[in-house]
């Protein structure tokens, strides 16, 4: 009844959070310093002008990493709960990007940046509120219609079906939007920057990073401190046992797809803001990278997916910074292969899906 004096064995979640934050900050700073050194060591920059560049690139890495992390969460959560590699998830992200584009373009009617701050906030929130539920429910619908009937089929069946769903979604987008780039209105003013240490750090990058972090923290809080979140973790660990404890597996799985879709939709929105275009096959590459991120972090593990997303962001950014962008994809897939070969459980291992 009374508060529990927790024995020293288990560090409390707050101190764990602080530890993770410290590690993350150290990693980011380390990346920046290494990039700085590499830029004047290999890239032929001077020591002084390499610093602002390193800083700026670190911010870039954080924002693309945040996008990958948001997508990776959908892969990892679905895998954690039903051991399905949901190949269609990248395309869910792509549809999110399209929907956000359609929403914003429909309201603003042009591609101009919106400099009126309250209006910008309303537009961005509106786009989130519009796209997140639709894409989330679409993801739930796909699970309900396609994956659920195959839940007890051999593992390969839903996997192949997921590939099929991916093709279907891509073709739907292709049919509706055509094969070229579609313009995505960059309503977030790109010339809003903060001068830090000689670099012009774009506020959009910061916005993307902060939005992603907020969503991830909300997810973390949801998973660890609510009834449904606990049910999700329990189902991931032992679906039968959790059912016998009264947790409705179907409902919980639907919820997982909902959350995955919602996060992918948010990633889609910020994608459009940052890169100014969407295309029907966007989900393929982003999806593959996010999947790599999930595997790298330990598929099934939420924190792992976030870490993996940022690592992929850093790798890609590092390659681009040093002028090896043509190798960045190659590098990412080499990493995927190496992880699968030597540490299939990823950096953190599969925490949530530790089955009986």
């Amino acid at each position: 009844m009374t508060a529990i004096a927790s024995p020293a064995a288990q560090p409390n979640p707050l101190s764990r959070g602080i530890r993770m934050t410290v590690i993350a900050v150290v990693a980011v700073v380390a990346y920046m310093l290494i990039l700085w050194v590499l830029l004047f060591g290999l890239g032929g920059r001077t020591v002084a002008n390499a610093f602002p560049e390193a800083l700026q690139q670190t911010v870039n890495a954080l924002s693309i990493g945040a996008i990958y992390a948001l997508i990776a969460l959908g892969y990892t959560m679905v895998y954690g709960i039903i051991e399905l590699i949901n190949f269609a998830h990248g395309d869910i992200f792509m549809l999110g990007a399209f929907l956000a584009t359609v929403f914003i373009a429909g309201i603003t009617g042009n591609n101009d940046a919106v400099t009126n701050i309250p209006l910008l906030i309303v537009l961005l929130l509106g786009a989130l509120v519009f796209t997140m539920p639709i894409i989330g429910l679409l993801n739930v619908g796909i699970e309900r219609a396609v994956y659920r009937p195959l839940r007890h089929a051999p593992r390969l069946a839903p996997l192949i079906t997921a590939v099929g769903v991916s093709f279907i979604l891509q073709n739907v987008a292709l049919t509706i939007a055509g094969s070229g780039d579609r313009k995505s209105p960059q309503i977030f003013p790109l010339d809003w920057t903060i001068p830090i240490g000689g670099a012009q750090v774009s506020i959009l990058s910061i916005f993307i990073f902060v939005l992603a972090m907020l969503l991830m923290l909300a997810l973390q809080a949801f998973v660890s401190r609510t009834r449904l979140g606990r049910a999700m973790r329990a189902t991931a660990q032992d679906q039968e046992a959790s059912a016998l404890m009264g947790v409705d597996a179907n409902q919980t799985i639907s919820l997982t797809f909902l959350i995955g879709g919602v996060l992918a939709a948010a990633a889609g929105l910020v994608w459009g803001l940052r890169f100014g275009f969407v295309r029907f096959d966007l989900g393929f590459n982003s999806g593959l990278k996010a999947f790599t991120a999930a595997v790298l972090g330990g598929i099934g593990n939420i924190t792992g997916a976030v870490i993996g997303g940022f690592i992929i962001g850093f790798i890609e950014n590092g390659a681009a910074s040093l002028g090896y962008s043509r190798w960045s994809e190659f590098l990412v897939f080499v990493i995927l292969t190496l992880v699968l070969l030597f540490k299939p459980t990823g950096i953190l291992g599969q925490l949530t899906g530790d089955r009986a």
């Binding site: 949801f222 009834r227 979140g229 039968e240 404890m245 009264g246 597996a249």
Partner: protein, 332 residues
């Protein structure tokens, strides 16, 4: 009928796995607030019988009635249910249309339409509410909607596992909170908006979980991951988790397996307390005869899927068939 006093009735329950008859035509009842034990040699079919009760398997034959409801794991003729909903209003609607065409006064036709709409609403309400009477009514037509394991929990059944199946990577407290899942209501919007309901439920479930941990003797262990608890404590935690759903009937599958005599004695006492203090009905599978004979009101003996004896511990102890099949085994 003494129906009210029986929490569970098994009627000629049979379960086959391919050619193997794991459970054969077992009739079995559990009176309210009793402790009933199920014993039998290894492979006798005890766990299988348990799983049928818990809604994991459907019996190949026969039926389980839990608190007067027939529970099955897989839907049967479920498609007929919506047909039934629509059938009555449809008949009414057609009748109304017919009398309308036949030239009945306008008032009558409007009344007919009104009645049709009422019937539609009524079937909708019954269909959604699904009261026990409605389910019995459906059962008479052979229509069963599935009672998945989680529905059994909602209906009032809690259980533990022969081989511990805690959520190893969650804390003891969280394990118990998961057990409470079906008794809590907070949805995703509550979580998202952090509504008062959410906060209240979180606080309540935490307090209640701590209470339950204390009840099973795990006071102060709430923050430990399940996998870090000693074996005996894990068994106790399973019981706390099972209790969290406020069950009417508690199924315990070999709760003392692997425990030392000291721990066993403690757990036996706990089971006794559960019935006395919480008024639970308990079905126990147990190999340890001291435990079984000490606390059971009634003992049922299975062997090769057959019920070979049933009675008070005294009667069982003396039953020659039991002695031959079970007690006479050299291991005991």
């Amino acid at each position: 009928m003494t129906a009210a006093a029986e929490v569970l009735r098994a009627k000629k329950v049979t379960k086959r796995f391919g050619g193997l008859v794991a459970v054969n035509a077992i009739d079995f009842t559990i009176p309210e607030k009793s402790i009933v034990s199920l014993i039998g040699p290894n492979g006798a079919g005890k766990t299988t019988f348990f799983n049928i009760i818990a809604g994991i398997y459907d019996p190949t034959d026969g039926a389980i009635e839990f608190r007067d409801l027939t529970m099955i794991a897989h839907a049967r003729r479920a498609w007929m249910e919506p047909v039934l909903w629509v059938a009555i209003p449809a008949v009414l609607g057609i009748l109304t249309a017919l009398i309308g065409v036949a030239g009945a006064p306008q008032g009558t036709v409007i009344l007919g339409i009104f009645i049709t709409i009422l019937a539609l609403l009524a079937s909708l309400v019954t269909g959604v509410a699904r009261g026990p009477a409605y389910q019995r009514f459906l059962a008479r037509f052979g229509i069963f909607r599935s009672a998945r394991p989680n529905d059994m929990v909602v209906a009032g059944l809690g259980r533990t596992f022969q081989n511990i199946r805690l959520f190893q990577n969650m804390t003891a407290l969280e394990n118990v909170q998961v057990g409470m899942h079906s008794r809590l209501r907070a949805g995703w919007y509550d979580a998202l908006l952090s509504t008062p309901r959410n906060r209240h439920e979180e606080a309540f479930s935490r307090a209640r979980a701590e209470e339950l941990l204390e009840l099973v003797g795990l006071r102060g262990e709430g923050a430990n991951l399940a996998k870090n608890l000693p074996y005996g404590d894990q068994r106790r935690l399973e019981i706390a988790r099972a209790l969290a759903s406020n069950p009417v009937l508690l199924l315990l599958d070999e709760p003392t397996a692997g425990m030392n005599p000291n721990e066993t004695a403690g757990l036996t006492a706990l089971i006794g307390r559960l019935r006395r203090d919480l008024g639970l009905t308990i079905l126990l599978i147990e190999h340890d005869m001291k435990v079984v004979m000490g606390i059971s009101d009634r003992v049922t003996v299975l062997d090769h899927g057959e019920k070979i004896a049933e009675g008070t511990p005294e009667e069982i102890r003396r039953d020659p068939k039991v002695i031959e099949a079970y007690l006479g085994a050299p291991a005991e």
